[in-house]
Symmetry: C2
Subunit: 362 residues, 2 copies
């Protein structure tokens, strides 16, 4: 059998090179006579994996030594709680900009921890079809941070220009577009991402935090919920998810080999042009409810003329080797997720399939 075109939203496609590297040494690794999964997290062999993964990530995203990178567990959903728990302090408030279900969930947890403000929202009739413009935002210049969801997997929107928050650091959920494009890290105070879209398998969450913010973190927290615990021990306070971290390392090596974030951004832009171009060129068959300036370069949400045709599109797509085409249950229609590991050739095949399907059924 052959590898399929995997357009799942996450866990998602990984570079086959990363899987092949792992496959070669799954049972006997690095001359140790054991699997990386079986190795003590206190061994010098694992230490090398751990530290290489952190330093490659810092290099690729462009973080200097003002930043600490943590390798945690529990997904972005756990960060929704840990962020306000650690950072909401001194009686100050945090700003949240709402652009979809994930930012709403982040706000819900922050409300448990302390005072929050909604500094902007693109919600209309229960859906979020665009990214707010700068002049729509009502930012608190004294906020302890401003929370932004970089890319919205469910609705298929993405911040192409991050908001100007002045001196307030942006705390950003980049789960679904991290390392997919160049960013100006100076705007951010904390960047976090569940690994299972652009970084590796599920089970590890990367948190990059500026050291000056780390020092101001609240104390008296449960040990495992305090960023300081993990920062003090280089994310080895307790046993980290060693194999998931090893896989992230493999994916980062692949990305570096491809030319890093600059090279992958070019590919992702080209993929976006192909998919949005195909939608635009077939206006009687494909449509997207998304504001054109807000369209994600990771998750593509679109509709066909009828729900029956959408079902047929998913079924015929599967037969043609494309899986993960069904839209999120809360939105319907079609969604494909084309992350870093979904190559240009695969997307080219997919848009051919789109065009043929439109021609046959239009």
């Amino acid at each position: 059998m052959t590898r399929i075109h995997n357009y799942y939203a996450g866990p998602a496609a990984l570079p086959v090179e990363a899987l092949e590297a792992a496959n070669k040494e799954l049972i006997e690794w690095a001359g140790t006579g054991m699997s990386v999964m079986e190795t003590s997290h206190r061994s010098k062999e694992y230490d090398e994996v751990h530290n290489t993964t952190i330093s490659l990530f810092k290099e690729l995203i462009g973080l200097n030594d003002d930043w600490t990178v943590l390798l945690l567990q529990g997904g972005a959903s756990t960060q929704f709680a840990m962020i306000p728990m650690n950072l909401l302090c001194d009686g100050r408030s945090a700003d949240y900009i709402l652009t979809g279900a994930w930012s709403q969930k982040a706000l819900k947890e922050a409300k448990i921890a302390g005072t929050t403000r909604v500094a902007g929202t693109s919600e209309k009739d229960g859906v979020f079809l665009r990214i707010p413009k700068q002049d729509e935002l009502d930012l608190d210049p004294n906020a302890t941070y401003c929370h932004v969801t970089s890319n919205n997997t469910i609705f298929g929107t993405q911040w192409h220009v991050f908001p100007d928050t002045g001196n307030v650091p942006i705390v950003c959920d980049m789960s679904s577009d991290i390392l997919s494009r160049k960013i100006d890290v100076s705007k951010f105070g904390l960047i976090y991402a569940g690994a299972q879209k652009n970084l590796g398998p599920s089970g590890v969450t990367l948190v990059a935090i500026r050291k000056d913010l780390l020092e101001k973190c609240n104390s008296g927290l449960y040990t495992m919920l305090s960023y300081k615990t993990h920062a003090d021990k280089n994310s080895l306070y307790n046993t980290p998810p060693t194999f998931s971290i090893y896989m992230v390392g493999q994916v980062l090596k692949w990305l570096k080999g491809k030319g890093g974030v600059e090279a992958i951004e070019k590919e992702n832009t080209e993929k976006a042009q192909m998919i949005y171009g195909t939608i635009k060129d077939n206006p009687s068959f494909f449509s997207t409810p998304i504001d054109p300036e807000s369209g994600s370069h990771m998750n593509y949400v679109f509709r066909l003329p009828s729900e029956d045709l959408e079902k047929q599109f998913v079924a015929e797509g599967k037969d043609a080797g494309f899986v993960g085409l069904k839209g999120h249950r809360s939105v319907g229609g079609i969604r494909i997720s084309a992350y870093n590991a979904n190559g240009i050739d695969s997307v080219r095949d997919f848009v051919s399939f789109m065009k043929n399907f439109a021609q046959k059924n239009g």
Copy 2:
């Protein structure tokens, strides 16, 4: 190269059969054309992995439908906080029995959540060399639960008979001896274990909770820290650590194939007899500070006549293919961890090495 004798305390040896099964299908799995790591946690293929792992675990440990099994992240250390957060309620107190560093850490987190009592401790001069006897315990009959650490990896002790806590359910950290022996589950209200010793790779934590306790859990918690969140969604509220869960499934299949807990308990007892027997038979060379009735059947802590000989033992052991022999940094000496996946033949080779070393250097 060949597979080594892996006596690390955790992450630890896995059955080679489980690794081989994963290796065969790491890139193209179950006819899906992708890796299990790349598959959506909402796919029917992953659903099968998830539910099979849960049901195999329930079958092997002997839990009926009065219990819910959760697949969480963050290790036992996160459970140290989640347990009191969820279960310490109605102004009641929780009992903690201290038998080592892990139970001390569990108590520390519980103190943040509410009222606790130390119902027993075997601490003497900063170390824990035995398990307290029933008549030494000062149990609170109204405690909401009594926390026990089943096996103490650092000191090498184990509860061979769990305490009689009357109507108070035992909440038990079984991270380092789960599924290594038959237990009477009726004594327990919650059983938890980080996977990385007897269950699989690190990155997934199993929590089995009696449904009547689950219903009484506190509300108003952060979403990800509430057992109810995960129970309501069968541990699919957010993306679970899918590959780690898949590997646990492989390990459980292997255990079932071996004859389950009854068969493995026989092996573990035999391994313990070999190792403790060798120590006992060479009293001028090997010694253990551990109370003979409290000796762990998972982690074996012993000393040689001098620290120099201990260093030599570790070095020559490594040359002979045995790794992970060095004692925990807080205890010193030698420790080997022989979990379910460390076979009898390997332990036989190890005790031969012990005897030869004693003969040459005694």
